[in-house]
Amino acid sequence: MTGQDAPGRGGGPLIEVRGLRVDYGLGPDAVHAVIDADLTLASGTVIGLAGESGSGKSTLAYAITRLLRAPGIITGGQVLLYGGTGPVPEEAARAGKEAAQAGEPAQAGTIDLLAADERQLRGLRWSRIAVVMQSAMHALNPVVTIGAQLTDVLQAHRLKMDKTDRRQRAAFLLEMVGISADNLRRYPHQLSGGMRQRVMIAMALALEPAVVIMDEPTTALDVVTQREILTELADLQRQLSFAVLFITHDLSLLVELADSIAVMYAGRLLEQAAAGDLYRAPRHPYTLGLLRSFPPLHGARKPLTGIPGSPPDLRTPPPGCPFHPRCGYAMDICRTEMPAAFGLGVGGGRSAACWLHDGAHEVPAELAVPGPGGPSPGAVTETRASAGTGAETGTRAETGTRAETGTRAETGTRAETGTRAETGTRAETGTGIDSGAGPETKAGAQPAAAPLTAAMPPGAAAAPDTTGTLR
């Protein structure tokens, strides 16, 4: 479960979030907490969702599971839960639901969770999608024993189990997370914080779900306890091969933990990439700033700057890209228009929602560091795949505005990029990063990004510090 061995793990998409929008409140005063989120979680992989407080990362998780409380409203988008290992026609959805209802994992069928009714959701929650809440202190019922809380789940979802079976299963689950079964009779207050969080994880895994959503599961814990739990979680994940959506503000932790990472800011997913790529070769200025906000544990001590300013108030979000007031590379267009998530790289590896990557701008060297490399030498991680249409974009991409890109990328890959850009497709991101050259790319899944405004001369308002090593 480390970023380093990310490529090649995992199966097909399991949960696909498309254009998800969540508001708090109604009408003109509504706060847009999640805006056009696209995220794909592949089965058996760990995807990290990083963001600061108020970035909408928890809201996104609650929207996916339909646990959002008023005044939160889902105003658009789809959340598809695939039944089997890959996408299947939606007609099978009902069958899948029935299977889930009966307590069996659905083998086939795709359900739009946002369209599912309460009965369907009840069948799916916990058995297919489980959630580990942020605060284990408050998520466990203080007046009910651990054992009762664990068997409660089984009683509701596993109708065939009798009392002894449930008890045995509960004991097994506790042992699985490293707590002796004697603790079944204890109350939450008798356990330490780390043990409580382990109980939460055991409960989430009780029905062997395909996905576990973890919302800052270790934030309140000490660093040693956190590491113990994460190591156990990694082992369990490897054994049981469930997928994890891991939400945290600690990007440095995610780099170690996740296969791929999505970075969220002010309700938008700004960058998605394999963990190693994101760490060594960030593409979005916010990701770069965030990475530079964590003092390293090794090497010479260098002054770090963090990110100037503070995250925006979502009640009055800045126009254009929400990050532009804090961005050192902000251009005119950033102040007026939100960039689409431009696909980067072959094989649907990554994307960044930044105008610098639209193919028409010079990318500063620090945002164009060559990635650590794809699974094969031919598959260059860093190639421009612009969502923009039109010949202009294509030619810009062909000429290569970036030195590093030019040196690493082969012509063949470039040609492919060009085609993909023209058809206006978009790389699937956040999956387990398949090693192939991206056959799973979904044509037409996303509308093409708006063409560049004519008023935008190429290379205008170039970022403040470009290297000048352009080809």
């Binding site: 600061e52 707590i179 204890r186 590491r227 113990e228 965030l290 002054p303 700057t305 100037p308």
Partner: protein, 399 residues
Amino acid sequence: MTAPAEHGSPHGAGAASTSAVASRPALLEAREITKRFPAGRRGAVHAVDGVSLALPAGGITAIVGESGSGKSTLARLFAQLLTPTSGQLLLDGQAAPAGRGGRRRYAQQVQMVLQDPFASLNPVHDVRYHLTRPLKVHGLGAAGSLEDTLAALLERVALTPPERFLGKYPHELSGGQRQRVAIARALAVRPRVLLADEPVSMLDVSIRLGILNLLAGLREQEGMTILYITHDIASARYLADEIAVMYAGRLVESAPAISVTDQPAHPYTQLLLSAAPDPDRPEPVQLSGRGSVPSLLTPPPGCRFHPRCPHAMAICSQLPPPPAEVAPGHVSACWLHAPEHPARAATTAERRPDGSPTQLADDPSRQQGRQTRPTLRHLPFSRPRHGQSKEAGDEPAGH
């Protein structure tokens, strides 16, 4: 809200001053300070136990520890918010002034910044009130120059232009701005020592460095003496000259910041470092010790870390280890580093793998007796992960 770039170089100055700091006189010093909180029939919570720590003038000292290690209690003892059960607090080598008037004189020199800026500012008062109040209490700042004083204070914490912030209420400020106001409030009485208790842990990641750089700038430009309390050893390494590691109420290791993180001597420091998030880690973590911080109502006898320590010996459960210098300026309270002890040689031989040659060998003071003395620095974290016995260390919360 950025500190200027030069603020961000605690290390240009820090690295150079590290050796200088050691020789600098201590501005504020705790000697064998102990704090026990009575806990009724159950005895007392041994929150801080015989800690000696000196804050050199113009230096940044960090205390690193997990929750329950006593680091915040120690900060409150330094601030005289708590009265020590035993031990001494020295300011400029003199016993710190106590009593009603003495406390006030002391507070004018030693100020504290609290962890949570969302709770430490009064929501019904504006920034002007928060900054004026300490001036009035301490009888500083003539009425005429008050505006100038306030403006200067806000400029020192990079809240500019000051007039835009003076009338604001805490809810109108972001977390980082609030913490800056809290720092400005501490600076109002022109203290010589700033005690910062987890000043960034409640803040968003992207604005933490702004606050850390602000503290570094205060030291660099004004020679402020700073005690930085944190659970994040990476930020301590970034900011501080010296790091002191606390465990269960005791100081286990103290050394120049880089030495602590690069050559940790104490097994607990090694555990802490092996658990810290580190994207550059080449391979998955093998924790070198399990379980959690012991109950401070009934702390373990001897070394308080021994129940979790992979290198524990017989003596560790009997006597608390004396602090021993493992390298110049690098002190570790561990029996592995203590001067020869009869009980040790036998136990270590069977307990630990063969020591490999270490940098410590270069230190002439450590040459003698090296065959029997284990050198912790290069011990691999090789303890096998045991799947079943985790709960043994992970004790219940103690009810």
